[in-house]
């Protein structure tokens, strides 16, 4: 009969006492992330993100499908999350938990409704053929802050993903294999990320990247999605303790700073990965330039 590990009275009291002195259990400052490690798979579109002990794998897969009849010019982009008992004893098979709904809705708002990935760019032949893109997010281990980790994984995978190049000749759709033409990256309009802030003392203290224990002890959480340009995509605070409206503003400011920081890490890792893959030399670079859309 597995269940969520609830913190005991002693742990709760100690965490709160330590926070009053601005100390976190792992010795981080209040506004610091745990160690972030991003790895890409051998294939394009697979990202494995580790944030401390929390680990999330995201895989993007693409196939060609017919569009929804009411959205003829839009491709299909679905995000699915999988919370299996592998990650935490609190997760059950089959039943969709509140956390899972929350997680997938936040990701959907952040990545899809904010038009980060323009679904119009996935259209091949209006009303007939579009790319159907799927982001499968697997939670491998849960030690707090699933939302941020999943969002980093999804965005990193999207930015890393390449889909086959296509062209239309005389109304016939041609999909090129990677040998004929280099696969093309996705058209991402901006790069939003989620930052979850757990607050204590009615918003006096805000923790970035809370661990599971800190999350369980906090009064509530605020989710902010923003892009490195400072544009906010989502602010969410459902329930939890009451906070002043100014706390929200302060939280958004804090989150935007963190988004920039994490965005830079993703940029750097993507660059390193591109360097690793670029074995070609001059010839391949010129070929690629030709194929770039």
């Amino acid at each position: 009969m597995p269940r969520e590990a609830e913190p005991s009275i002693n742990e709760r009291a100690f965490i709160l006492e330590a926070l009053q002195e601005n100390i976190r259990l792992d010795g981080r400052p209040l506004d610091a992330f745990r160690e972030l490690h991003i790895a890409f798979g051998e294939e394009y579109g697979v990202a494995d993100v580790q944030l401390g002990k929390t680990r999330v794998l995201c895989r993007i897969s693409a196939s060609i499908a017919s569009p929804y009849p009411d959205r003829k010019f839009d491709g299909i982009f679905t995000i699915t999350t999988e919370l299996s008992p592998l990650a935490s004893p609190a997760f059950e098979v089959g039943r969709q938990s509140d956390l899972e709904t929350h997680l997938s809705r936040v990701l959907e708002t952040t990545l899809r409704r904010s038009q980060a990935l323009s679904t119009e760019s996935l259209c091949l032949i209006a009303g007939q053929k579009v790319w159907s893109l799927r982001a499968d997010i697997h939670i491998l281990s849960h030690f707090g802050n699933l939302i941020d980790t999943s969002c980093i994984a999804a965005l990193a995978a999207l930015r890393h993903c390449r889909i086959p190049d296509t062209s239309i000749k005389g109304g016939v759709l041609i999909v090129y294999t990677p040998l004929e033409r280099d696969p093309v990256p996705l058209a991402l309009l901006h790069h939003p990320l989620c930052i979850t802030l757990n607050y204590f003392e009615s918003g006096e203290k805000m923790l970035v990247d809370a661990t599971l224990q800190e999350q369980q002890c906090s009064e509530g959480e605020i989710v902010v999605s923003a892009n490195p340009q400072g544009e906010v995509c989502l602010v969410q605070k459902g329930g939890g303790g009451e906070v002043d409206a100014l706390v929200l503003l302060r939280g958004i400011g804090l989150a935007v700073g963190k988004v920039r920081e994490v965005g830079k890490v993703i940029d750097r890792v993507l660059e390193e990965d591109a360097k690793r893959r670029d074995k070609g030399g001059v010839v391949s670079r010129e070929l690629r330039a030709e194929n770039e859309r």
Binding site: M1, P7, G27
Partner: protein, 244 residues
């Protein structure tokens, strides 16, 4: 633990390594990770160093994986989940069934003087009985003497997670010689603290302040995750001491 042979699952333990019993009437005891195939073959089912205790005529494979499975006589740190008429239901790990702690199973407890524990309290207890088919039963006193022997409610302090092998090492009689742990002595020389180790991979630490408690907890966790030797442990303690 003088001789250490590494075994893999399926290895046959050669009779030479088996301990020669000091007392011929004492039967050979097989611990975790070993399996007796009649008539006289012993094979291992886990990978790890083979440990031998000549005095007890026991042999087992040390292995640092897996969840905690309650075993009789283990000391554990549990959380009270809820109480019913005369039983506290306690959670040992999130995966195991609730353990039953009779409300009278404390030192000198009577119907009137039994301790009142709220849900979420921490207790240090010994497992009385555990089997696959029933909920484990735990007690906070030694049933033969009626004394608490350090068990009971843990007040204040902080709980830290450690691996099960680390918990076993910490509970060894000769910590330094057998377990290879020197950091508690090292810290103990400078900071006063209380500690309780549970076989279920939990350590409870209480000290004067937040920083001191965290110092002990972090030193333990670092030693555990990085597999530090005795000298390195001393270094870690000195480094953490400087930060306090």
């Amino acid at each position: 633990m003088a001789t250490k042979t590494l075994v893999f699952p399926g290895d046959i333990i050669s009779p030479e390594v088996l301990p020669i019993p000091t007392n011929p009437s004492l039967p050979l005891k097989l611990g975790p990770g070993l399996r007796h195939v009649p008539p006289s073959t012993i094979t291992s089912t886990l990978a790890g160093p083979l440990c031998i205790d000549r005095k007890k005529n026991a042999i087992w494979v040390e292995n640092n994986t897996g969840r905690y499975i309650p075993q009789p006589n283990d000391l554990i740190i549990a959380t009270v989940h809820h109480s019913s008429t005369d039983i506290y239901h306690c959670s040992i790990t999130p995966h195991t069934a609730f353990a039953q702690l009779p409300q009278l199973a404390f030192e000198g407890a009577t119907k009137k003087t039994r301790p009142q524990l709220n849900s979420g309290s921490l207790i240090y207890a010994r497992i009385l009985s555990a089997s696959k088919h029933t909920d484990p039963e735990i007690v906070c006193y030694n049933p033969s003497t009626g004394k608490s022997e350090g068990m009971g409610e843990l007040k204040g302090g902080m709980l830290f997670d450690i691996s099960m092998a680390m918990a076993r090492r910490l509970l060894m009689h000769k910590q330094k010689a057998d377990g290879g742990i020197a950091l508690l002595e090292e810290i103990g020389g400078k900071v006063a603290f209380e500690i309780a180790v549970g076989r279920n991979g939990k350590v409870w630490v209480k000290s004067g302040g937040v920083n001191e408690t965290l110092l002990v907890g972090r030193a333990l966790q670092e030693t555990d995750t990085q597999g530090l030797g005795i000298e390195e442990q001393v270094k870690v303690v000195r480094r953490l001491m400087r930060q306090v």
